[in-house]
């Protein structure tokens, strides 16, 4: 899957949880889920669960620990997809 496609899918996933519209519109690889998008930390787990459903992968605890940004999420998704 191309990175742009991954980012577009991720953008769709985080949409219901974001609290900063401007940062959302400008979402890029460097966007931070909490610092930029102001996603409530309790909703971060929803992002993780939605990513699992969307890509049919399992995100283990060690991976989840790092999933604070678009970049980290992409890396994790790519690695899990490759391991499938």
């Amino acid at each position: 899957m191309k990175k742009e496609v991954l980012i577009a899918k991720l953008k769709e996933i985080v949409k219901p949880y974001i609290q900063d519209e401007k940062a959302f519109i400008n979402l890029s690889e460097n966007t931070d889920f909490i610092k930029d998008l102001k996603i409530n930390s309790a909703n971060l787990v929803d992002v993780v669960l939605d990513v699992e459903d969307e890509f049919d992968i399992e995100i283990d605890n060690d991976s989840m620990e790092k999933m604070l940004s678009v970049k980290a999420a992409i890396e994790i998704i790519e690695a899990k997809l490759a391991a499938k």
């Binding site: 909490i34 610092k35 409530n40 930390s41 309790a42 909703n43 971060l44 787990v45 929803d46 993780v48 669960l49 699992e52 605890n61 989840m64 620990e65 790092k66 999933m67 604070l68």
Partner: protein, 180 residues
């Protein structure tokens, strides 16, 4: 170091679905899940545990400057109607909490800590209202800044003050803790 967290229970009802498949398993230990399953008010306990974990995490990263998301590793223990503790690796954080019908406020207990929770009328001004409430404890020129890890600190004339602070807001509730 200091940490506190607040949960607006009304907002939590609509913002998160704790009964969603996988939701508990991703962030709570087996012992915590058993306690949630057994209690009369699981919704309340989910958010009490959550706020305790957040308060402990916020306290922890004030010294170990590294952001991460590992709620499951912060293990909660409740010892009374307003006290408990959280264990993370070799660290133990003593917690006090205030639980009302409307909100939960949890904070890490320290000698001489000042903490307060309050209602925020204008939800769009959560952040500024919370900061202003905290700053009311200090002189006019004092300001709140955040470092790259999102840890807040007090600044006066561009000098970092030797005070630990923690702010929290969620929905119509805000809270802070100050530790000198």
């Amino acid at each position: 170091m200091i940490g506190n967290d607040v949960v607006d229970l009304e907002l939590a009802k609509t913002q998160s679905n704790w009964q969603r498949k996988g939701f508990l398993e991703k962030q709570f230990s087996e012992t915590e899940i058993r306690a949630i399953e057994k209690t009369q008010n699981p919704f309340e306990l989910v958010w009490l545990f959550w706020s305790m974990k957040e308060a402990a995490y916020k306290c922890y990263i004030q010294t170990d400057k590294k952001r991460f998301f590992a709620p499951k590793k912060f293990k909660c223990f409740i010892t009374s109607k307003n006290e408990g503790f959280v264990q993370y690796l070799e660290h133990t954080f003593k917690i006090q909490y205030q639980l009302t019908k409307e909100y939960i406020h949890s904070w890490v207990v320290k000698e001489g800590i000042v903490q307060k929770s309050f209602y925020i009328n204008n939800i769009k001004k959560q952040s500024t209202t919370t900061n202003q409430n905290l700053l009311n404890n200090f002189t006019l020129e004092t300001d709140i800044k955040k470092d790259e890890f999102g840890v807040p600190y007090l600044s006066k004339e561009n000098q970092k003050l030797p005070v630990f602070i923690s702010t929290a807001h969620h929905g119509n509730y805000g809270a802070y803790a100050i530790f000198k």
